[in-house]
Every structure is written in C-alpha cells, then in structure tokens.
C-alpha cells in the first residue's frame, strides 16, 4: 500500500500560467505556442457553440478547425489592445457557422429544385442567447472546486443552498459565499467574452 506522502507534489500543467493578455499578445505577434494555448483555452467553447448550432459532429469539427485556421491567418486583424481574444473568436465562430448553414440551405434549394421538395428548412441564425449560455457553461467549468460543483448544482440542477450544503457536507455560509463570489466572477468573465450577460 502506498502512503499518502508518496503522492503528490502537484503543479498545474498550464505553461507558466500565462495571463489572458499575455496569450493574446503572443497570438497577435504570431507565436505558434500562443495559438496552441489559445486552442487549449477556447476550443471547447468554439466546438460547443458549433455543435449546438449545427447539430452535427463532423460539421462542428470542421467549423472548429476553420475557426482556428482563419483566426491564425487573420491574426493581423486582431488588436489585443482594443478587443478581447475570446470575443473575437466567438465572432469568427458565428461567421463560420453562418457560412455552413448557408451552404446547407443552398444544398436544400438544389434538392428542392431537383426533387420538388418544399424549401421549408431555412438556416436559423446563431442565437446569441444560446452562445451566452455556452460561454457561461464554459466559464463555470473553469472554476475550481468546490465552487465549480456548487455553481453547477445551483444552475444546472436548481438546488437550494441548504440542499447543496448537505450534499457536499459544507457549511451553509460557505456555500452562499461561493455562489455570490462565483456569480461576480462569472459576470466579469462574460463581460470579457460577450460584452455582458445578455450579449453584445
């Protein structure tokens, strides 16, 4: 049996814990490792939005690839002093999704022309509220435990503070404090990514 002290000098794997500003500056300056870091931080969100909007895994993967390829090729149009990188990436994501939906719509029109099928499935525009929800989900997932678990129980499962306190064996005051501070933190994060909780 292994004693507890065999385990564990722990350190985070994230290289040097670069700040978001450092990553954005490195990206704009064309450092490939900054692109890798940007991908690590934001690909789940980009992929999640694409999957939600397109409902198809292959399409979502294609769009995710396209977003990071076009972000890298268009990095000179990103100005880290005036905009946030995630907001810029989300904007690119919406464009690539719109492109994909437009292509589907063209395919449907072609089908309709060929087969007399009614053209009743128009591409839906990306829903900003859904994007905001996914940004929030992404930011909740970045919280450290127990805050991540607590906010997940509050929002996903609509549990009361008392239920959460009992379930996690934490004092009620601790739970409340995590929810309040978590909400403030999430507000700050959403301001950066979307310009506000209701979208920019």
């Amino acid at each position: 049996m292994v004693s507890a002290d065999r385990v564990l000098r722990v350190r985070p794997v994230e290289p040097g814990d670069l700040s978001a500003a450092e990553v954005a500056a490195g990206f704009a300056a064309g450092h490939e490792e900054a692109l890798a870091e940007v991908y690590r931080r934001w690909s789940a969100l980009v992929h999640g939005i694409a999957l939600k909007m397109l409902g198809d895994r292959a399409d979502a993967e294609d769009v995710t690839q396209q977003v990071f390829v076009s972000a890298w090729r268009g990095r000179s149009t990103f100005d880290p002093t005036t905009g946030s990188l995630p907001a810029w990436l989300v904007g690119i994501t919406k464009h690539r999704i719109a492109d994909r939906l437009a292509a589907r719509s063209r395919d449907q029109r072609t089908l309709a022309a060929v087969g007399g099928i009614r053209e009743d499935m128009r591409a839906a525009p990306t829903d900003d509220r859904v994007v905001d929800r996914l940004v929030l989900a992404d930011e909740i997932s970045r919280l450290d435990d127990p805050r991540r678990t607590i906010l997940g129980l509050v929002f996903y499962e609509d549990q009361t503070y008392a239920q959460i306190a009992e379930r996690l064996n934490l004092p009620l005051g601790t739970v409340k404090s995590h929810v309040r501070r978590g909400l403030l933190h999430l507000r700050d994060r959403l301001r950066e990514v979307t310009g506000g909780p209701s979208g920019s």
């Binding site: 049996m1 292994v2 004693s3 507890a4 002290d5 065999r6 385990v7 564990l8 722990v10 985070p12 794997v13 994230e14 490939e32 490792e33 692109l35 690590r40 690909s43 789940a44 969100l45 980009v46 992929h47 999640g48 999957l51 979502a60 993967e61 995710t64 690839q65 990071f68 390829v69 890298w72 509220r129 929800r133 929030l136 989900a137 909740i140 997932s141 970045r142 450290d144 435990d145 127990p146 991540r148 678990t149 906010l151 129980l153 929002f155 996903y156 609509d158 379930r167 996690l168 064996n169 934490l170 601790t174 929810v179 309040r180 501070r181 909400l183 403030l184 507000r187 959403l190 209701s198």
Partner: protein, 238 residues
Amino acid sequence: MDHLDPEQLARYALGDDVPLGTDEQAHLAACDTCRTEIEELRQLADLGHELRPDDRLDPAPPQVWDRVVDELGLREREPAPSSQYGGVAPRRDRRRLVFVGAVAAAVGLIAGALGARVLSSDEIAPQPQPVATTRLDPLEGKTGDGVADLIKSGGNTELRVGVNGLPAPQGFYELWLINTDGERMVSLGVLDPTTGGTFAVPPNLTSQGYRIVDVSLEPDDGKPEHSRDSVIRGTLPT
C-alpha cells in the same frame, strides 16, 4: 454612503434572504450604478438557471488540433489536450501534474470485504455492465473503502463510485484519476461521501494510463491542487 460592496450586490441579485440596512436601502434607491449592477447580476443568474445538461461543453476530439496544425503547417505540434474533464460540470484542462511513486500502480490489489453503495438513482434503470472495476482501499492510517466501476454507454465513459465509511470531513472529498506514469492527474469533481456519484470521464483517458482512482480530502482553501491527503484508492485493470 459608498456603493454597496459587490457581495451585497450579488446577494441582492440572487434574492438571498438577507434584509438590507436602511442606509443600504436609501443608497440603492438613489444609485443608478448599483441598481444597474444588480440588474446585470440578476440577468446572469437568470441565464444560469436556463442552463441545461446538454449545454455542458463537449471538447473537440484531438484530431481537430492535428488538422489545424496540418492545414497551417505549424511547427508547434504540442498536443492540445481536450479541455474538459467533468463531474458536475466539465472542467478545463486543469490537468495537474503529480509525481507518484511507481508503486502507486500496484495499489488496489488487496482483497477484502466490501459493501459499497451505488447511487440510488442508478438502481432504477438497468445499468450497462462495467468494463473495469476496482476496489478502493484505505491508505495507511485512513478509514473507508469503496468501489469504482468504469462504464461505457453509447459514446460516453463514466466512472461510478460508491464509498463506505468515509469520516465526515472538514472540507470536502474530491475524486481524481491519476496516471500510472506517476506524472499526471485530473480531477473529476467533488465526491459526496454519503451517496457516491457518477462522473463523466473523457474518452480514452483510461487507455492513456489514467487508471488510478483516488479520493482525497480537500480543505476548503480555494486551492485547486490535490491536497496530498488521499484517503482511499484503487487501480482500474487494463
């Protein structure tokens, strides 16, 4: 008076049952800034309550990064780890490195009596058969035991953990998967010592060597790292 402090604003926005003092009420009646902030926080809380389980983000499969690298002809071939490891909510790639003695791989082979509970909600529906199972045995000087079942259902991999006899904690219990290379670990989330739980596991994680199931006692100190205070542990067979 000054603006309300942020925690007061959040408390108000959340509708927590804490009456404001008369000074605060008077300030709020007169202060657009504070009212705007409360409204913003309230909208955020509303948005949060709209979250549905399928809003939990699905990481892009690793080959997407490979395709980006190929298309751009990058030199940087560092694999981009898929970035969500989730229990209650998915988590970003906060993989933590941990240096474990190689012996750690041998943990979990000791036999003994076992009576772990599984989630009661899991008992209703017929469960897929686990593809791997391990007992969780106490580390030296610890009490408690349990069992962990690795379940594959559809495209999803889950770890179902039942535990027994874990002492009521000062702090909380956290579930980890530690790599048998002794260098890497991921957190799967907070473990309820009374009910156990079922945790989403990213696909292929166990085949990459993340097979040591570890339950640690974590102080509520805001530090995400493993506390080094492991309580029970076992290794999933290959």
